[in-house]
């Protein structure tokens, strides 16, 4: 009975939609963008669907980045994969090793005869996603880099100049103490992505290696080396500040509790992806927000290097027919057009992935009107990337990040020192790298 009703209603729905959308090729797109970002993403898909009538892109939210990747892999094994999947930068190593599963974007564009000029993209972004011969394998879509958000009202209440954010960790500590002691806020600092921001980016900024073989770009035989002096010192500081109440931990991975601490004015400074901008603007309604680059240790490096990217790219998965890939190529072209890119970048805080989108933003006067909105771009494009700041590429990095989070929690709980925690993370991480090497060679 129930089944009949369902079949009937499904049939009805099909009839209704068939009259509006005649024989369109459906392109499934799995993504991990929720809340404000999800809305903007859906608007892009809608924009593409309205711009032509041959293809329909159907975005589906699949949970966190890790969940999305896992779901796609499982679906691929069952031959139920989507055409496009959004994979975070940590999944790059895993995707690159799975050559049979991926329809690389340079190939896809050539097959579909779509014009495609890789040199128009920001170099730090494309470098991250190219194979050893320089071919781009996935479509840059939402690349971000971590920046610092701070609460100007709290700065003012603490007697600090709201327009002068801390530039070094030493300054951050002094200002943080002043904020907490003056009672302007209960805590000075909270941070999302301890692994990405306080470990991976920390290493890049100070030109220190995260792993051997150019941070993994040189091959599968790489090993982690992030248990060195700088990282230990920084983790030690975070632990010390945590004990003193200056720093509040918001949870593993994306730190579900970190952003609320900033929005509710519990913590004065918040480090997160530049893509947190949309959420910050939507949620931080009671106070003025300042934006700044990440701080650094000025006794370690005088001119900090560029930060490294995060966020995600779009991978086309194998096993669909040519017509679908034509649609995917058309959609990618639409996606990287300056107008769409500039809009996405300005709405969300993700980096503009093409130079054209950045220039368009300048012409529109967006950066002049929105102070702080170009912090991420300037931070990622400053100086010349070294082998240590080009990015990182390791297999099964998702697991490694989980391990680093665990060891950081062990440090906060007081069961390990910073050195012990990082040593353990490196040792366990190397084991994962060896497993990955064994499974993929």
């Amino acid at each position: 009975m129930f089944k009949t009703v369902l079949c009937l209603s499904a049939g009805m729905a099909a009839l209704v939609s068939a009259s509006t959308a005649y024989a369109q090729t459906e392109i499934s797109w799995w993504h991990a963008m929720d809340a404000e970002l999800g809305q903007k993403l859906e608007a892009i898909a809608q924009g593409f669907n309205d711009s032509q009538d041959e293809f329909t892109v159907v975005p589906t939210y699949k949970g966190s980045y890790a969940e999305t990747l896992t779901a796609a892999i499982a679906a691929f094994r069952a031959n139920e994969q989507p055409a496009i999947i959004q994979v975070f930068e940590v999944g790059t190593g895993t995707m690159m090793a799975a050559t049979g599963a991926v329809n690389p974007v340079y190939q896809l564009m050539a097959d579909a005869g779509e014009p495609w000029d890789p040199s128009g993209f920001l170099a730090p972004v494309t470098g991250y996603y190219s194979d050893t011969s320089g071919n781009i394998l996935s479509m840059p879509f939402n690349s971000s880099t971590p920046i610092m958000y701070y609460n100007k009202d709290v700065f003012e209440a603490a007697g600090l100049d709201p327009d002068v954010p801390p530039t070094t960790w030493a300054e951050l500590e002094t200002m943080g103490r002043q904020i907490v002691e003056s009672g302007a806020a209960n805590c000075a600092l909270s941070s999302a992505w301890i692994t990405w921001i306080q470990t991976e980016n920390l290493s890049a900024l100070h030109d220190k290696p995260f792993g051997t073989l150019e941070n993994g770009f040189g091959g599968l035989g790489t090993e982690f080396v992030f248990n060195d002096e700088l990282q230990v010192r920084h983790w030690d500081n975070l632990k010390k500040w945590s004990d003193e109440g200056l720093f509040q931990y918001g949870g593993p991975a994306g730190a579900a509790d970190a952003a609320p601490k900033f929005y509710s004015q519990e913590c004065a400074i918040f480090m997160n992806s530049s893509a947190g901008r949309a959420g910050v603007i939507a949620n931080a309604t009671d106070f003025e927000v300042g934006f700044a680059p990440l701080p650094y240790y000025d006794d370690v490096i005088e001119e900090p290097k560029n930060s490294i990217i995060g966020g995600a790219t779009l991978w086309a998965l194998n096993g669909k027919d040519a017509q679908v890939y034509n649609g995917v190529a058309k959609f990618f072209t639409y996606l990287s057009s300056p107008e769409v890119q500039a809009q996405w970048h300005q709405d969300t805080g993700y980096l503009p992935i093409t130079n054209a989108a950045y220039e368009l933003g300048q012409e529109q006067g967006y950066y002049a009107e929105n102070p702080g909105s170009d912090i991420a771009i300037n931070q990622i494009t400053r100086g010349t990337p070294s082998a240590n700041s080009k990015g990182i590429r390791f297999g099964n990095l998702t697991q490694v990040r989980a391990i680093v989070d665990e060891e950081f929690e062990a440090l906060l709980a007081g069961s390990k020192t910073a050195q012990e925690a990082l040593d353990a993370a490196v040792e366990r991480g190397n084991q994962i790298l060896r497993d990955f090497e064994a499974a993929n060679s």
């Binding site: 089944k3 799995w30 499982a74």
Partner: protein, 282 residues
């Protein structure tokens, strides 16, 4: 009650009232939270009295959903949950009646073997063998289908076990009488055994409906298409927002709605529920 001790009676009631408070408190809090606006939570403490936004929050969840959190309107997910719970309950009851009948009333080669094949699944939840089961269902092309959502959950022996225990208590004389009357096995099953099992079937239906309704991990894995989302897994999607404040008031509205149907079933069919639960296990 053997003797009358007023202080003991008072103490007894006190214990019970404290127990009821412990049991009700989390749900009361959830209900209260679901009647406020999101902004009320940013102040750093949950209000303890209901607010004024109940209708607004519930209608938003029921009819609009939050598409960016991958949550379709709740009424749709609730319909799915109902369908899945009913299919699981009926499916389990049907296959269990048949196999319990075979095991109790017949002697045949490999009977013991069949018995163990079935009963080894008695307490093994799907979570334990989640990955291979997922692979099997995926290979059969059953992802995103009601079949894939329900069949693997039907494959456990709890109901078979209950019917076996019950059939063993059916007096042998009934069967002998049926055979004297020349009734065949299926006629006996239909005309005598099924009517006798009526209450048990109803009681079991209640238990299995709840079992089907509260499934979480399995639907989470086998559905990639929001048309098949169940309400229990949909909630997780709402609560786990990464870059934004979780919208607690809406999450709690969804939680209350997800609890409501099975809780009402338990309350209004309490006698059957208790019977089903206590007898299933004993």
């Amino acid at each position: 009650m053997v003797e009358n001790r007023p202080w003991l009676a008072f103490f007894t009631h006190l214990v019970l009232i404290v127990g009821v408070v412990i049991v009700v408190f989390p749900v009361y809090l959830a209900f209260v939270a679901s009647t406020h606006t999101g902004a009320d939570f940013l102040r750093g403490l949950v209000p303890l009295l209901p607010g004024l936004h109940m209708i607004e929050n519930y209608s938003k969840m029921l009819f609009d959903g939050i598409s960016t959190a991958g949550a379709p309107p709740l009424w749709r997910m609730m319909l799915n949950s109902t369908a899945i719970a009913v299919i699981i309950a009926i499916g389990k009851i049907v296959i269990s009646l048949l196999s319990a009948y075979a095991i109790v009333f017949f002697k045949f080669p490999f009977r013991l073997f069949a018995f163990w094949i079935i009963f080894i699944t008695l307490m093994l939840p799907v979570e334990v063998r989640i990955i291979p089961t997922f692979a099997v269902v995926a290979n059969l092309g059953l992802l995103n289908s009601y079949v894939g959502l329900t069949l693997p959950l039907i494959a456990s022996a709890t109901a078979t076990f209950l019917f076996r225990q019950f059939f063993l208590t059916v007096p042998d004389e009934l069967m002998e009488a049926a055979r004297v009357d020349g009734a065949g096995p299926m006629k006996f099953f239909r005309d005598i055994l099924l009517p006798l099992s009526r209450t048990n079937i109803a009681a079991l239906f209640v238990i299995l409906f709840i079992y089907g309704w509260v499934q979480y991990l399995w639907p989470l894995l086998v559905t990639t298409d929001s048309r098949y989302y169940t309400v229990v897994m949909g909630i997780k999607r709402l609560a786990a927002t990464a870059d934004a404040e979780p919208q607690w008031h809406l999450v709690m509205a969804a939680a209350v709605l997800a609890m409501l149907p099975p809780v009402l079933v338990v309350i209004f069919m309490q006698r059957l529920f208790v019977k089903g639960l206590v007898e299933t296990e004993k």
